[in-house]
């Protein structure tokens, strides 16, 4: 059986990769992709803890279901926002989105 620390380290690596994408991408769709990677990494941690710490109630897995729900809603609203912005600004790059400034 693979020890818990291996799962946690895999989750940490995926989370850091997603964070790097959020920090460095210009394309806002790319930023959304990176956020999905981060949410997936968090899910991995939740499921790993639910397997190793508390298996009778599977609370971690139930929580992961909620994380997926929120991720789906976030993706839908985020992409709708990007499309609405694309219609007015004609760009998907985050540094072009400055129409809220004065």
């Amino acid at each position: 059986m693979t020890p818990l620390s291996h799962y946690l380290i895999l989750g940490a690596v995926l989370f850091v990769i997603g964070m790097f994408g959020v920090l460095t991408r210009r394309n806002s769709i790319g930023i959304l992709i990176s956020i999905e990677i981060m949410l997936g990494a968090v899910n991995l941690n939740l499921v790993a803890f639910s397997r190793f710490v508390e298996t009778s109630t599977l609370n971690g897995q139930v929580f992961a279901v909620f994380v997926m729900t929120v991720a789906a809603g976030e993706a839908a609203v985020g992409l709708a926002l990007i499309l609405a912005l694309y219609r007015s600004v004609r760009a998907v790059f985050a540094d072009k989105f400055n129409i809220l400034k004065w």
């Binding site: 997936g40 298996t55 609405a84 790059f93």
Partner: protein, 171 residues
């Protein structure tokens, strides 16, 4: 239970984890956003393989259904609808490349240090055989309020996405 009885389960886990990491790096660094979306789908396939290692069979299937079946398709739709911009020639990263790399590397170092120092529980409890029944019970009994809130949240997201996606005509 399941895969843990196999001789090389640990090796297979490392392989699947490596695939997930490689596809995650591709999804973050590739220039073409369409390729990024495809790499994201592959990453979630590998991640659901890891879920199977954790005896979370229901969640592995849900992962593929929601992420690969819905979210990646949605992202691909957004990429296609904003096509003209995603050519290879345009710079895809901002000026934070080096600081971001340093920050993420130090964060990863901190994570690994904490995970290494923590006294994590060894595997002692047996896995649940029927996760889907327990998860369903939890959703409709203990977590019923959160379940209802999640349904309202999804409805709000649906309405909001339709409103935002609609062409706004100025009077």
């Amino acid at each position: 239970m399941g895969l843990s009885g196999l001789v090389n389960a640990s090796l297979v886990f490392k392989l699947v984890g490596l695939v997930a990491v490689v596809f995650a790096v591709m999804a973050v660094t590739l220039k073409n956003v369409f390729h990024c979306a495809l790499a994201l789908a592959a990453m979630f396939f590998a991640l659901s393989g890891v879920f199977i290692f954790l005896d979370a069979d229901f969640l592995a299937v849900v992962q593929i259904l929601i992420y690969v079946g819905a979210i990646v398709i949605l992202i691909i739709f957004a990429v296609v609808l904003t096509e003209r911009i995603t050519s290879e020639a345009i710079r895809q990263t901002n000026h934070l490349l080096i600081p971001g790399l340093l920050l993420c590397a130090s964060l990863l170092g901190g994570f690994v240090y904490v995970i290494d120092a923590a006294r994590l529980p060894a595997e002692s409890t047996p896995a649940q055989a029927e996760t889907i029944r327990i998860v369903g019970r939890q959703l409709l009994s203990t977590q019923a309020e959160a379940f209802e809130v999640a349904s309202v949240l999804l409805l709000a997201a649906l309405v909001g996405a339709v409103f935002l996606g609609k062409e706004i005509t100025k009077k």
